[in-house]
Amino acid sequence: MKKSRKLMALAALAGSVALWFSLSESTRRYIVHLGKQVPYLPYRYFI
């Protein structure tokens, strides 16, 4: 049970990495650019 959960997590991680590298560089920069702003969103909403 524990082993299969670990395997699933590993597969999900590997899938995400593969997906990330299948994106164009522009798309990756876009995601990083938006991602960097996420921590500020609650503050921005209330200013």
Partner: protein, 500 residues
């Protein structure tokens, strides 16, 4: 005792629009402007007999302007004469292809079918979806979407917009390449992301349809771009609006966390029930109010915004007609080049080489801006140029930059430029900063993307300082003539609601 009901800091479009509407509603309103004229980025100045537009060169989407005048019971046409510009653009593509883009969509489709037959179907889909979305957005521009509930209310009243939500999450480039495959056609749609201050790969997806707004018509106001804020000011003055020039506001006066007026540079205090700031929100909060008077989270929020892009402008006075065939002529770069300007130059503090550019030719629409037979031309660096230059500064660089820009204009546009050039004036980012007091000479307020627009942009009714309101490029939908006029309308609505 207060001196005024409303004090507005700055006579930019957001400031004059909100000030004029509030005056019409019976509020004793004063606008304080540090310059000698109205308009800020949307203004016109005289230089040796030629009239040059400071920044903005055309207006598209006239609905907010019409709405602003309607709120005063007036008609735009009685105050501003808008001359339609046809064609929209003359394009000099990066690969040497030259063509013009007409306003009429069918005519534009015809042009595309000649240059990129493979893109006709995509273009038709792009226009079908885009024109519907733009039409709906136009109706929504003067409606607030600054909170979750306002946005939800807006969506409910325009259910047709819901299906376009995915475009808000995508980048400008993502939208462009979804519909258009030919790199030249892509470049004519993608360069406009810089109209909102962002490279194609980072710009807001819905602005990928901005090109279509121009197919609803682009206009030039007779008398120069200043005619728009002047018209608004004249209408407001009929209701008692007062505008004072050469009045620089240093501070917003506070009582606890409540604005109660302003302090001018010369030490004068003017007390008011409310303050409307039409200056960059970073200046409003961090300089005029000061970090010490704000909660730490608010400082964090305002610090987290980037300003939206410095960009130099070259103003030319000629004694002959330039060899141009449209009010706007653009030289585009392909998508990769457009992004490279941002990633490899702008972000690294390196001045990009003069690649793409935008020329506007105001005397084509209004010959009265120059002496008879003469012309004015604005030559805009085709993208962002860093304010802080690595190992250099704009004052030192200005002569060499001017020389380089003139050489490009001569070799790519007008080979006999030097025989006809009567006047040259240049505004570098440092000059814009000094002239308009806009941080880093930013021309569109704050950077605009999904996470820094609408409800994630500073709120027009400040949520940290009571009785403080904001209008202009730093709020709502960002920089641009229609968006800042719309912000002025929305801000005045908040004030009317609060002060009744």
């Amino acid at each position: 005792m207060v001196d005024y009901d409303v004090v507005v800091i700055g006579a930019g479009l957001g400031g004059v629009t909100s000030g004029a509407i509030l005056a019409k509603n019976g509020f004793k309103t004063l606008i304080l402007e540090q310059a000698e004229v109205v308009g800020g980025c949307c203004s016109t100045f005289d230089y040796q007999g030629y009239k040059f537009d400071t920044g903005a060169s055309i207006v598209m989407i006239t609905q907010p302007l019409e709405e602003a005048f309607r709120r005063m019971g007036k008609e735009v046409r009685d105050y501003v004469e808008l001359v339609p510009c046809e064609p929209i653009y003359s394009v000099h593509a990066y690969d040497g292809t030259k063509f013009t883009i007409p306003t009429d969509i069918d005519d534009a489709t015809e042009v595309i079918s000649r240059i990129a037959p493979e893109d006709v179907e995509g273009w038709k889909r792009y226009t079908r979806i885009g024109l519907d979305m733009v039409g709906q957005l136009e109706q929504m521009m003067t409606t607030p979407m600054n909170t979750l509930s306002e946005t939800a209310r807006l969506e409910l009243s325009h259910p047709g917009m819901m299906k376009y939500f995915p475009y808000f999450l995508r980048s400008h480039q993502g939208v462009t390449v979804q519909f258009l495959k030919n790199p030249v056609i892509q470049s004519t749609v993608a360069f406009q992301s810089y109209y909102a201050g962002a490279p194609p790969e980072l710009g807001l997806g819905t602005l990928g349809f901005i090109a279509l707004c121009e197919h609803l018509g682009i206009y030039y106001p007779r008398g120069g771009m200043i005619a728009i804020p002047e018209g608004l000011r004249r209408a407001g003055e009929e209701f008692g609006l007062e505008v004072r020039f050469n009045q620089k506001v240093e501070k917003i006066l506070l009582e606890g966390n409540m604005a109660r007026g302003v302090l001018l540079e010369d030490g004068t205090e003017i007390l008011s029930r409310i303050v409307v700031a039409n200056v960059n929100a970073k200046v409003t909060y961090l300089k005029m109010i000061g970090p010490d008077n704000l909660p730490r989270w608010a400082v964090k929020a305002i610090d987290s915004y980037e300003v939206a892009m410095p960009c130099p402008m070259i103003y030319l006075g000629l004694d002959t007609s330039p060899p141009l065939d449209a009010h706007h002529t653009i030289k585009t770069g392909d998508l990769e080049q457009s992004n490279r300007v941002w990633n490899d130059y702008y972000k690294k503090g390196i001045r990009p080489p003069m690649g793409g550019w935008l020329i506007s030719w105001p005397t084509e629409s209004d010959p009265s801006l120059a002496p008879e037979g003469h012309h004015v031309v604005n030559f805009v660096w085709g993208g962002p140029a860093p304010y802080g230059l690595l190992g250099d500064n704009w004052d030192r660089l200005k002569p060499a930059f001017t020389e380089e820009a003139l050489k490009v204009f001569e070799s790519e546009v007008m080979p006999d430029l030097h025989d006809h050039l009567k006047v040259v004036e240049v505004s570098t980012p440092l000059d814009f900063e000094r002239r308009l007091l806009t941080p880093q000479g930013a021309i569109y307020g704050l950077f605009l993307d999904f996470f820094s627009s609408a409800m994630f942009r500073p709120h027009p009714r400040s949520r940290v300082v009571k009785n403080l309101y904001l209008a202009g490029a730093s709020v709502g939908l960002g920089g641009g003539v229609p968006t800042t006029i719309a912000s002025g309308v929305i801000t005045s609505d908040y004030v009317l609601k609060d002060l009744g």
